[in-house]
Subunit: 129 residues, 2 copies
Amino acid sequence: MRMGHGWQWRGCSRRAVRFLEPALLLLLHHSPAHGYTLLEQVEALGLEGFDPAVIYRALREMESQGWIVSRWDREQTQGPPRRVYQLTPLGDEVLRYWIQDLQETRKLLDRFLQRYYEHIEQHHAQEDP
Amino acid sequence: MRMGHGWQWRGCSRRAVRFLEPALLLLLHHSPAHGYTLLEQVEALGLEGFDPAVIYRALREMESQGWIVSRWDREQTQGPPRRVYQLTPLGDEVLRYWIQDLQETRKLLDRFLQRYYEHIEQHHAQEDP
DNA sequence: GCAAACTAGTGGCAAAGTGTCAATAGATAA
DNA sequence: TTATCTATTGACACTTTGCCACTAGTTTGC
């Protein structure tokens, strides 16, 4: 089935990106972490296929917004020094707002899916009386 | 509360856009319509603040993908001739795939919110033993 | 001890996505 | 006949996104 480029995703699901920042905040709400492990944890949350650069870019952006802060960790590492990110009080507040937003998205999604199934049922009722 | 430009939306909610094409398909699944009424119906679905140009652009893109077809209607109009859009069998199929995708998004959202609340509860339990 | 593989993070670019506004143009109301 | 509403299109700047190459420290295998 050909759907054209509007359907085919480049890299990862189009919905994933909009989840990335809230996902990172949620993970950091749990505990401070560095980018490389966040990459794995984000996948474990169900958001797969991210290029590391995308994660790091989001983290830098979030730091510039003051939602998180980072410090270099040169001791406990299996490679070069790494940044450890931590949620700020502002970041915590932003996460709460984001949770509300996701709740609304959920409601929207529910209404949407319900509409579809209602209409499908009507269709079937008409076709098989 | 200042959250910086990463939080402030331009025009409409950032989640809305990814809903636009499925929303249009859903509405056209119900019945053929022209862009100007789709604009209103999309708002009624809960997706507010769209500039008409965004709707028309999406419709043209969807037509180029073969998900919908249009014809000019010069009779039943309160203004200039208008395009009437109609779902194709391919569009119907795409809508079904999209519904599945939205179901998965819903599950993701649920897991996400559940994680947040679980962790909040643990926090409270620790603070108020 | 040195090459390969793994860990960790950065920078830049092309392409795609998005918001906004102006322009066109027919119909209707004032 | 001017203004307003209906209806659609086009173009532009700006932002987001995917992708890739790059640096560089550490560990592992030979």
